[in-house]
Amino acid sequence: MRMLDRVSRSPWIWSWLAAFVVWFATIMVTGGASTLDLSQAALTFAAFSIIVGIGQMFVITLGPGNVDLSVPSTMTLAGTVALKLMDVDNAMIVPGLVVAVLIGIGVGMLNYALIKALRIPPIIATLSVSFIVQSAAIWTNRGLRIKPPSFLADFTTANSFGLPNVAIIALIISIFAWFLLEKTVYGRWISAIGQSTPAAKMAGIPVDGTRFVTYVFCAVLASLAGYLLACFSGGAALNMGSEYLLMSIAVVVLGGTAVAGGDSNVPGIWGASLFMFLVVSMLNTYGLGAGIRLIMTGLIIISVIMLAGGRQPGAR
């Protein structure tokens, strides 16, 4: 009973519930025949939102105003540059990955450098950076779609133990993120900073160092997601990250992470990512037009957040 009570009050339960309802409504169209296929597709595509969402969650946890809008362009730059470098050569997989991660580190550093040096709100700083990074992506490969190395193309589209490989990668990253948040000093620090930066400072927390690492972490996850997505979809495109801007924020807040910071939630990101994919599938399956589909998506998002009850008491 207490268990049930606790579960019903945990902020992530609502996104899971919503995902389940939508999943159920979708498979009912085919009388359950599409269960396996739909589930695998959902896990596959949710995996990318989960990876970028986790990075975004760390940033949002840093407190009001913290958000990384450079996620889409970082994905694009990392994907295009890595694929260009690997140039369909299986031997170049690791260097490609290293370069993608380095790009993430670079963008993260640039983001925080601007936030810190110019003392501008992160939302504006990362927006500016995203324009520059997008330009860099255009400049490096002019929108050419280069195919990924065959091993990577196969790996990212294959399943292991009935689970899509990309979902397994997302799971590993999620567990790592959960461990960071719940068990480590670093996790405590970002939560403290999110609740009150002055208090964190006075408690001896290296505030700048922590925020810096967090922005870099977010950008690295974005570049990793870009690398995987480019391999998965058979080539990087200049616009491949664009839908992950709103998506990365939506899955974080729908997943029960406090928008005001200080409180994050890894399981919720899974529920929300699955939900965001499934809701589009469901509405497509029911054959609704784009207008109705958009309206329904919006109303469902609002209903979920209403059910979840919104801000935590005490949070601003």
Binding site: I124, L127, V133, L246, V259, I295
Partner: protein, 315 residues
């Protein structure tokens, strides 16, 4: 005798200075801009942005954020180009209705203690869907009176300048001078103390949202007046632009610190920054990046002026 400059004045001086500097740079690059027609061309598209920025500012004044501003303005534009022209009564009713929806959103957000970011994210889908339903393909036409209003040629100063000044003045009176404005900013500053003084914070938030909806409706109408027709994606960038405009104008995300005049100046600055870039003739590859760079430069300017001001104060 020490000269004390109020924080509000500084909040304004900085954006005003950056606008002036940018304008000087534009005139230097393109002397043709220094004319009645030139100024109008430079600034007329800033009018709807300024209105949307004021709307966003009202929401930010109560510590919330509206991520649906762009889709909402697009939706209003679609209504303006269809109903408001073909059936003015129905059009006006729809627009009044959506202003009410904004007020209701304020109520819901307050009552259920919801994060405005998520609710407005959801609403952005709703507005986009309605806009697509209304105009599946771009089209419609601006009502003649709107078109006439946006292309009028007042004496002395071009329409864009006159209207911008009028918007700034009206918003200043409303937000900075009136009791309602004080109340709205008070909610942003310290909700509890407003409540303890016996006010209804709920009503204040509803008023802020309703006013924001009203200004956003004006933005949509003004936009159609300039473009002559609408489409469902016409103003998507207004979401980020309006936030950036408020910040450039010296506003802050929380704490109810906003400046309507600054917000209008911020909107003008953003518009001008785009022109400045195209006058620079950068390689197309880097034109997008240059937009980022100019944002950074304008904000760096703000920092520089802040520093100078602090030194003044420290003396």
């Amino acid at each position: 005798m020490r000269l004390t400059i109020s924080a509000d004045a500084i909040r304004l001086a900085i954006p005003a200075l950056s606008l002036t500097m940018l304008l000087a740079a534009v005139f230097w690059l393109q002397p043709r801009a220094m004319s009645y027609v030139g100024l109008n061309l430079l600034f007329n598209l800033a009018v709807p942005i300024a209105l949307a920025t004021i709307a966003q500012m009202l929401i930010m004044a109560v510590n919330d954020l509206d991520l649906s501003m762009g889709t909402f303005v697009s939706f209003v534009a679609c209504v303006t180009a269809t109903f408001l022209r073909d059936a003015p009564m129905i059009g006006a009713l729809i627009l009044a209705g959506v202003v009410m929806v904004y007020a209701v959103l304020g109520v819901v957000i307050h009552l259920r203690n919801l994060p405005s970011i998520v609710v407005s994210l959801g609403m952005s889908f709703v507005w986009a869907g309605l806009a697509v339903l209304l105009l599946p393909a771009p089209g419609g036409q601006a009502p003649d009176w709107v078109r006439a209003l946006m292309t009028m040629k007042p004496p002395f100063a071009p329409m864009a300048i006159v209207v911008s000044v009028a918007i700034a003045a009206a918003a200043h009176l409303l937000v900075m001078r009136s009791s309602l404005g004080v109340l709205i900013r008070g909610v942003g500053g310290n909700e509890r103390s407003v409540e303890r003084a016996g006010w209804s914070v709920l009503a204040a938030r509803a008023a802020a949202y309703g006013l924001a909806g009203f200004f956003a409706v004006l933005a949509g109408i003004a936009l159609v007046g300039l473009t002559t027709s609408a489409d469902a994606n016409i103003a998507l960038r207004y979401t980020l632009l309006s936030i950036a405009g408020v910040i450039l104008g010296g506003g802050e995300f929380i704490g109810g610190r906003v400046s309507p005049v600054g917000a209008v100046i911020g909107a003008l600055t953003l518009t001008l920054a785009g022109s400045f870039l195209s006058f620079l003739r950068i390689s197309p590859d880097w034109q997008i990046g240059a937009q980022g760079a100019i944002l950074i430069i304008v904000l760096a300017l703000r920092l520089l002026l802040n520093r100078v001001e602090k030194r003044e104060k420290g003396r």
